[in-house]
Symmetry: C2
Subunit: 285 residues, 2 copies
């Protein structure tokens, strides 16, 4: 394989391009906007770029790096130029919705999710080695060609990512817990604080807030489109996670209402142990 296409030149597309070019591939890019194409070339993220999807015709593998809702339309735009051997793969952060939309259009499709990002978005934030030591989750379905999975996996390993394989549904359920639920939980914390009606108390809260509040509120203060995307395309799993969360929150409220301090302490003892399972103390960064 020598030529790789990237459809969508944002942060992830740009980072993939930089890494793949540095590994000797010819990288071709497509964006909706000519100025993005020009910047991608001048940043060295792609060898050539165009607003015309036919540019990707020679690519043996094409990374779909658009927002979730634009992935299936991108595939439709590409269909006239694809060879049956062309492998399509995506980088979307939910998988079942993408699989449902894309597999009927192109069976040689390897759904995947490289789990890397930055606080800043967009092509201009691109950098090399974004995927190093990050999970790269491949979520094939029964009809996904094994040889194509192997090729995407080889690329992911060349980026020095940790490759995992699971079903689209299991991916979506796992990320609902560890990525999507925290956004809803954290955003609700910020929204709750702003309900404080005493401006003196609110001003004091602004002054006293420090690392604990900073960390707990971080993902709830991010890009609004990102939170909506999670809820919209992973609606069922996010709701299941939120219902479980609400139950646990109500347990906590009940313990405090009833002054059940031993029960509350047992809960905190449990949550400390759960966090140790997520982040073993010796590995904490």
């Amino acid at each position: 394989m020598s030529t790789i296409g990237i459809f969508g030149l944002g942060l992830i597309g740009g980072c993939l391009g930089l890494d793949l070019r540095s590994r000797g591939y010819q990288v071709l890019g497509v964006s909706r906007r000519q100025d993005t194409c020009d910047r991608a070339v001048s940043l060295g993220a792609v060898d050539r770029a165009s607003v015309d999807p036919s540019l990707l015709a020679p690519a043996e593998m094409i990374f779909l790096c658009t927002p979730i809702e634009a992935i299936a339309p991108a595939v439709k735009q590409l269909l006239p130029f694809l060879d049956p051997k062309t492998i399509l793969t995506d980088v979307g952060s939910v998988k079942q919705a993408v699989v449902d939309a894309v597999v009927p259009l192109w069976s040689n499709f390897v759904p995947a999710h490289p789990m890397a990002g930055k606080a800043e978005n967009g092509l201009q934030a691109s950098q090399k080695d974004l995927f190093v030591d990050r999970p790269y989750v491949i979520t094939p379905v029964a009809s996904t060609p094994a040889a194509s999975i192997a090729k995407v996996e080889a690329i992911a390993r060349s980026l020095r990512s940790w490759v995992y394989q699971c079903s689209p549904a299991n991916h979506d359920r796992a990320v609902a817990w560890i990525s999507h639920l925290p956004v809803m939980v954290s955003a609700s914390l910020l929204a709750a604080c702003s309900s404080e009606s005493d401006s003196q108390v609110l001003d004091l809260a602004y002054k006293l807030a420090s690392s604990g509040f900073y960390d707990t509120s971080r993902v709830g203060g991010g890009y609004p489109e990102l939170g909506v995307m999670m809820a919209k395309y992973n609606q069922h799993q996010v709701l299941q996670a939120l219902y479980a969360y609400r139950d646990r929150l109500n347990n906590c409220i009940e313990s405090i209402e009833q002054a059940n301090w031993s029960g509350l302490e047992a809960t905190f003892e449990e949550t400390r142990q759960i966090r140790d399972r997520f982040f073993p103390p010796e590995n904490r960064y």
Copy 2:
């Protein structure tokens, strides 16, 4: 003023001792345990230490650095040895409950909360300069002598803390939002994740969890006693904050149930702005 007492030689007592000795005060310490007294002397946190509270008789100001529930008992132990001019001040992280318990015992009491801490607890984690650039909140009541407030404030400034003054109730309400609510919110997130019944999904969640989950779950995985202390001694304000939080969480759930994506986006747009008020982008650490 030349002699300062510290009752309770844990992390905060130890840090205060190190800083105050370096500023030329003679520092006397009291702990329940002789071996803690010995370690405090050898660490240089105090000049002399004893399990006998009469050691603090010569101190012009005494810092009460025990856990919340032990503050009033400490004052009772000290009463036989106090001169009416002796200033008592505390470092408790809730204020109304402390004020209610201590003011009737000793009117020359300056309730305060230096807002500093570390991941590790205990005397052995003591260090210099823990209070530099941290808030030091003084919460006097009408009967608190102005001259005593001024002396505690001068000490706090000498530690290079940011000094704030407010009522005990306003302190407790502000910290409910920015310190206590985040612990309950974050612990409930950990508890919710552990309710996942599919062990494959849970294993995947462990592997995929990264900075977003790390940050949002951090304060919920801390010392169980700390979370219980917040809920127990700030019960009313913590419950008010939790009720407001539950309302906002339910709004979020409702938007997702109803696929009201524009409403959800408006919420996230609001929470992004709220976070910018807490942590202006140019100041973020």
